[in-house]
Symmetry: C2
DNA sequence: GCTGAAAGGTTGCGTATGCAACTAAAATTG
DNA sequence: CAATTTTAGTTGCATACGCAACCTTTCAGC
């Protein structure tokens, strides 16, 4: 085996090039790479809170707030106040967003196919599964670091 | 198979949590996540140009310039003018950097082990190999997009 | 050897992100 | 039910990054 610490390098390269690709691809729609993931969530389940998205994507709620605001400004989503919890908003797709749903999904699929070009079906499946497990491990580790920290300050 | 476009989600989660972990881990040394990759390059080969690093990591030369400046400010590297090419600098590690080389490598290995927790040796190996191929595919695709663009403007 | 193109670096600007601090509205608890 | 804690969201600040424009220096072609 090579140096174990080399994994992060490829990960970081894939991430940065995904950023470049998605930014260029959706620029003509006024959508940045950072907003796509929220649209993808909404395509699955429309009308959720920002908190829900933050939890679903394991992303900071401040980042959610800004991404949703940008999408709202561009006319892709609207915020409706939650009827029984006045702290929360529910986020809904507009027709403008629904109109480009298929384009977005097509490009996302295209990018995944690009990344896994030359992979066998099995390798493609394995790649996704291993990445999912890595994501789970990453989240668990960082959360355990935070627990340690909050226990310390509580003493 | 699930939706193909789901791969990017895990990728992005792993990347963001790597960012969080590495930022926290190296904060006490005055080193950010963004500088680590350059130190790793220098641990392999000391005394290279910024251009070399940009090529090696497929990273923008402006980002290299800023990361190296930060490392220089913190006393981890020095820039020496290239003796035969007055445009270029050669970047060398200081003793301060060499003194924490083992710590950095240890933490990087630890993080990789965390990400691949519960993986068999074969899965760990596969994960690294598939990521490497994905990175290669990503770079190739974006470069081909740029070629198309420059051909268009040249006409 | 000039001239124009290419290469190495830097800086300005914009985006995506995390963290900390904040507000306002629930929810919990004594 | 009043006081405290938690939750949903926003804003300020800092970091990492890409792209474009720029400056020097080097190189290639004539």
């Amino acid at each position: 085996m090579q140096q174990a610490h080399i994994a992060g390098r490829w990960l970081s390269t894939v991430h940065r090039y995904s950023y470049i690709f998605l930014s260029k691809t959706f620029a003509e729609y006024g959508i940045g790479q950072g907003q796509i993931k929220f649209l993808m969530i909404l395509f699955e389940q429309d009308g959720v809170t920002q908190e829900h998205m933050a939890g679903e994507l394991n992303i900071d709620k401040a980042t959610v707030a800004r991404a949703i605001r940008k999408l709202e400004t561009e006319g892709y989503v609207i915020r409706k106040p939650h009827e029984s919890d006045r702290r929360a908003n529910l986020i809904f797709l507009t027709d403008k967003a629904k109109g480009i749903e298929s384009v977005i999904k097509k490009e996302m699929t295209h990018w995944t196919e690009t990344l896994t070009h030359g992979f066998s079906d099995e390798e493609r499946q394995t790649a996704i599964e291993l990445l999912k497990r890595m994501a789970g491990n990453a989240v668990k580790e960082v959360e355990s670091m935070e627990e340690v920290k909050s226990n310390e300050t509580a003493e």
